[in-house]
Amino acid sequence: MAKLARLGLSDAEVETMAGELSGILEHVDRISGLDLEGVEPTSHVVELENVLRADVPHQSLSPQAALASAPDPVDGAFRVPSPQAEA
């Protein structure tokens, strides 16, 4: 699960968290027994139709501003380590 979430957890953290999460899931599991067959799920509380803005060009962030907070900007781009593990 930590791999899916891209979280590098230490063995100690995994152990503590496993205990905590089982406790929380046990509480949360109380809803699994409820008969909610046919109930519509709520993903959003306010009834809204699709909201569209006018398709008009407008000033957006400059590339410079967008890169200003990047840890490693280079040539107008975000540089990252190689996705291929080194041999």
Binding site: L4, V28, H44, R53
Partner: protein, 497 residues
């Protein structure tokens, strides 16, 4: 000039508009008060600089403390997280923009639980905020910095965010007013996302009048947030004096055993006050509210695990130095950048959304959410408001609940159902109670919830009740005197503004 700090934000606004109060002097007085922060409230103050983009041309509204979750151009914005240390956003959130346009200078950015996940402010990467009533206790969370700023005389008013109680609970624990508006009343643009279907911005203020004024400034539809709709009518200042003809529903299934005795007494006494004002108390049923915590702790972490995927050390924020590949950089950055509670919720949310468990957890929780909203609809057919204590206890001790995440979560028992239903709810200080184990008396909050977009009715009723309660005490050490003096100053010097 201590007198200026006694004014409510509304009184100060009127005095500034009438020319009876110099905005510059008033602003300076508050900046000085904020500089005396001994509660770890402020992560950034105006005098720390970098704030050219938020300069207010003609201040005429009281300066405000802003939870550090609102992106503010050029101003450090951390959301209480190590992963955003030093981050200066390239744009300003709509809520802050509206404050600036209204003429409210930004006094500072307030400490908070990391990414708004917490009920005690102990999850901040920058240390806990202390409760101004008793510095050995928590101010509540996650908007604990904003609540402590107002209660501790470090800001005239503040904004925060509420996902499952993060405005109302700290307001209750600090003895101030906290309003969570209807979902969609205020734009979320530039408000760092925790759980997008629940997050809502709102006021933390000394009294209900200030909350109404702040809501009027903040509310409104925003093209930058497609889920914002605003209120049908701009809020008026509340002036209702009685509760004649109004029905207040108390949930019969309210977990009375979970409420500590002192809080229960204040709650019962407040119900009696409602009746004295002509209001009627009725028993209602919210049969699914008891499952609120379970549904919330599936939905909120699930949305958080998705929202927090963006903190990957690539575009902004902190990046861990590693020799390995891209995946290792992601994993190390997130391991070093996030605190324990955020990691816990990311794990919980990832699990709830993972293939094979999605229907059992997320799907089921969304159905419970429907049932809870229906419970409220049924209740509101019979009553105007639903009332509960805001929190089952008064402020607890620092470190008291950190070892048991579930105990901390259960603290949100009374505030989460309203969040899931998307309805507005306010917490007003209703009295004082002794904490379990003794010690000085601490504030107790009374929660009133109304149907969606019923803010005006809610504010009017809360105002009438507030006048009848006459909550007076202030924490010792705060640089303003008792509230009766505030009232006197207000009525003598600032009339008809």
């Amino acid at each position: 000039m201590v007198d200026m700090l006694d004014l409510t934000a509304l009184e100060a606004h009127r005095a500034m508009c009438a020319g009876d109060l110099s905005a510059a002097e008033y602003g300076r007085a508050w900046a000085e008060a904020a500089a005396g922060d001994e509660l770890n409230v402020y992560l950034w103050r105006e005098e720390d600089g970098g704030s050219e983009a938020i300069a207010v041309e003609r201040p005429c509204v009281a300066p405000i403390a802003v939870k550090d979750i609102f992106c503010t151009e050029g101003v450090p914005t951390t959301a209480g997280s190590r992963i955003l240390e030093g981050y200066r956003p390239p744009y300003t959130s709509t809520a802050v923009q509206r404050l600036i346009e209204a003429g409210a200078p930004i006094l500072g950015k307030t400490n908070m639980d990391e990414f708004a996940m917490g009920s005690s402010n102990e999850n901040s990467a920058y240390g806990p905020v202390l409760n101004p009533w008793d510095r050995s206790r928590v101010p509540g969370g996650s908007s604990g910095g904003s609540a402590a700023a107002v209660a501790g005389g470090l800001a005239p008013w503040a904004i925060g965010t509420d996902t499952g109680g993060s405005i109302r609970q700290p307001a209750a624990l600090c003895g101030i007013v906290g309003l969570k508006p209807t979902y969609g009343a205020i734009s979320r643009y530039g408000m760092i996302a925790f759980a997008s279907s629940l997050d809502q911005c709102g006021p933390l203020t000394r009294d209900v009048g200030d909350a109404a004024l702040l809501l009027a400034i903040l509310q409104g539809a925003d093209p930058c947030d497609s889920t914002s709709v605003g209120l049908a009518e701009a809020p008026r200042l509340p002036d209702r004096e009685d509760l004649q003809g109004l029905r207040f529903g108390v949930p019969a299934d309210l977990a009375r055993d979970a409420i500590v005795p002192g809080v229960r007494e204040v709650f019962e006494a407040t119900l009696a006050k409602i009746e004295q004002l002509g209001g009627e108390i009725a028993e209602i049923s919210l049969p699914h509210a008891e499952h609120g915590i379970s549904a919330y702790y599936v939905i909120a972490p699930a949305e958080a695990s998705s929202n927090l995927a963006r903190y990957d050390g690539v575009r902004y924020g902190v990046r861990a130095q590693t020799d390995g590949d891209l995946t290792e950089m992601y994993e190390t950055t997130r391991a070093q950048g996030f605190g324990a509670e955020v990691k816990r919720r990311i794990m919980l949310g990832t699990y709830a959304l993972s293939s094979g468990y999605y229907d059992a957890y997320y799907g089921q929780a969304q159905k419970v959410r429907t049932r809870i909203a229906e419970d409220f609809s049924t209740a509101f057919a019979a009553v105007d408001f639903v009332v509960t204590p805001t929190s089952p206890s008064v402020a607890f001790g620092l470190g008291e609940k950190t070892a048991d995440p579930l105990a901390m979560y259960l603290n949100d028992f009374f505030t989460v159902p309203m969040s899931l239903a998307g309805i507005p709810a306010i917490s007003i200080p209703a009295g004082l109670a002794e904490p379990a184990g003794g010690g000085p008396q601490l504030p107790v909050g009374f929660q009133i919830a109304a149907p969606a977009f019923g803010e005006q009715k809610l504010l009017d009723a809360a105002y009438a009740l507030e006048q009848a309660i006459g909550f007076e005490p202030r924490p010792s050490g705060a640089p303003f005197p008792a509230i009766d003096q505030i009232k006197r100053t207000g009525s003598e010097e600032v009339t008809g503004g």
